[in-house]
């Protein structure tokens, strides 16, 4: 079974076992290692990618189900010179420690801010429920995310 995906706006073909989780296709076949495989059960969010625009846990997606889908990964959200707003806020607030969780957080929260430009702290926490960080204490991450909201509110 040959599966065609558009990954970060480029067409990619996969012809292995269609039950292979998308995260393994990205990491092992396409060498896009920004997406992390950590818990492999949908709890940690480190493997989050956008499938047809929606954040999804790529460890739980058999690639065969995605034939024809558009997948965006952390490698495709911005350029090295111009980070997206979430990446920039994380850098500005110096919140990253080991960094394992951050690609997933960026994918989750980039999409979230497209649907809710002015969330309160509780809404941000609720949106982050599926993204676990083993290193940090979360509050600075939330502070960083709150700053995006404030920036957007300030012309």
């Amino acid at each position: 079974m040959t599966i065609t995906l558009t990954v970060n706006r480029e067409e990619r073909i996969f012809s292995g076992d269609p039950r292979t989780p998308l995260v393994d296709v990205l990491r092992d076949h396409l060498r896009m290692t920004g997406t992390k495989a950590v818990c492999r059960e949908g709890f940690c969010g480190a493997c989050m990618v956008h499938v047809d625009g929606a954040p999804m846990a790529s460890c739980l997606l058999p690639v065969g189900s995605l034939d024809g889908a558009a997948v965006n990964t952390i490698e495709g959200v911005a350029t090295r010179e111009h980070l997206n707003a979430v990446q920039q806020a994380f850098e500005d607030h110096d919140v990253v420690q080991c960094g394992m969780c951050f690609p997933g957080m960026v994918m989750t929260m980039s999409r979230f801010f497209q649907t809710n430009t002015s969330p309160d702290r509780d809404e941000i926490k609720a949106a982050m429920t599926g993204n676990i960080c083993r290193c940090t204490g979360y509050e600075r991450i939330i502070d960083a995310l709150m700053s995006i909201r404030t920036n957007e509110a300030t012309p």
Partner: protein
């Protein structure tokens, strides 16, 4: 039987294709809905080399229709879809809340109601007690025709069920009742509940409970109605304190499930508190307006 036309993941374009594949592949295949349970099989040391019959392209199974008589929910409706579509209906609130608070946002975007109720090994499913409390019926389609079944009857035979037909829709009668869902997780969010409770009640003119349907999940291997509690609360005002007191006297009908997340005795211990939580949510929302 020739099974070579089927790849290891078969994308069914319609229900008939899925049913034919199920019949031809029999035990060598399993239906795939949201994939959130099936894809974790290796973590449970299940290495069966089964073909996945992917139902996700069958759009007809995704629809949700709500009218004054009933809510009809397609088996492939996701938790996110259900939480949004049922928002604001007092009688359906238990299911809306169960769908809106389970797991985490990404899982709610993927996991389906059909997958949730058909996964016999998943004792902590949130939607199952909600569907029991709301008196849902399941509709099945097979190559030989369709049938319906109550949620309780389905759960009785679920573990040994042959996949000769597929759950296609859940049908919930609309009522004048109010309902809610409470769950206790060990972490504040994003965890499976160690116990959950769905409550649907009607009040008489004096504000006392005149009818009740209550179901508990995660406490035993399979969610079930809490009939002793349902009977015991009739005629009482629905105050959280009173409900908690009554719940403490009705625990003998459960045999708590020991598992890695919590021992069985703990699940029983927390049930009365969950009953209080459920009724205080009712008080803050629908009951507060009705009383």
């Amino acid at each position: 039987m020739d099974i070579t036309p089927y790849p290891k993941l078969f994308l069914a374009n319609d229900l008939n294709e899925a049913l034919r594949a199920l019949r031809e592949l029999a035990d060598s295949a399993i239906p795939l809905a949201g994939a959130t349970w099936v894809m974790r099989a290796p973590l449970r040391c299940e290495t069966a080399d089964q073909t996945l019959i992917d139902l996700s392209r069958i759009e007809a199974l995704r629809t949700i229709n709500i009218d004054q008589q009933r809510a009809v929910i397609g088996a492939l409706a996701t938790h996110e879809q259900i939480a949004n579509a049922l928002n604001g209906y007092n009688d359906l609130a238990a299911l809306a809340q169960a769908a809106g608070h389970s797991a985490n946002p990404a899982i709610r975007r993927m996991a389906t109601i059909g997958g949730n109720i058909c996964t016999a090994e998943f004792a902590a499913a949130d939607l199952v007690p909600a569907l029991l409390a709301l008196d849902a019926r399941l509709e099945f389609e097979g190559l030989d025709g369709s049938r319906t079944q109550t949620m309780a009857a389905f759960l009785d035979g679920r573990a040994t069920r042959a996949h000769t037909d597929l759950v296609t829709r859940l049908i919930i009668p609309r009522t004048q009742r109010m309902s809610t869902h409470a769950r206790l997780t060990l972490r504040k969010a994003g965890d499976y509940p160690v116990a959950n409770l769905s409550v649907s009640i009607a009040l008489d003119a004096s504000g006392k409970i005149s009818a009740a349907t209550v179901a508990a999940g995660a406490v035993e291997a399979v969610a079930k109605r809490w009939t002793g509690f349902e009977e015991a609360i009739i005629g009482h005002a629905p105050s959280p304190e009173k409900m908690q007191m009554i719940a403490k006297t009705c625990l003998e009908e459960f045999d708590g499930r020991d598992a890695a997340d919590a021992p069985g005795w703990y699940r029983l211990r927390v049930l009365p508190g969950l009953a209080a939580d459920a009724f205080s949510t009712l008080q803050e929302t629908t009951l507060g307006r009705a009383m």
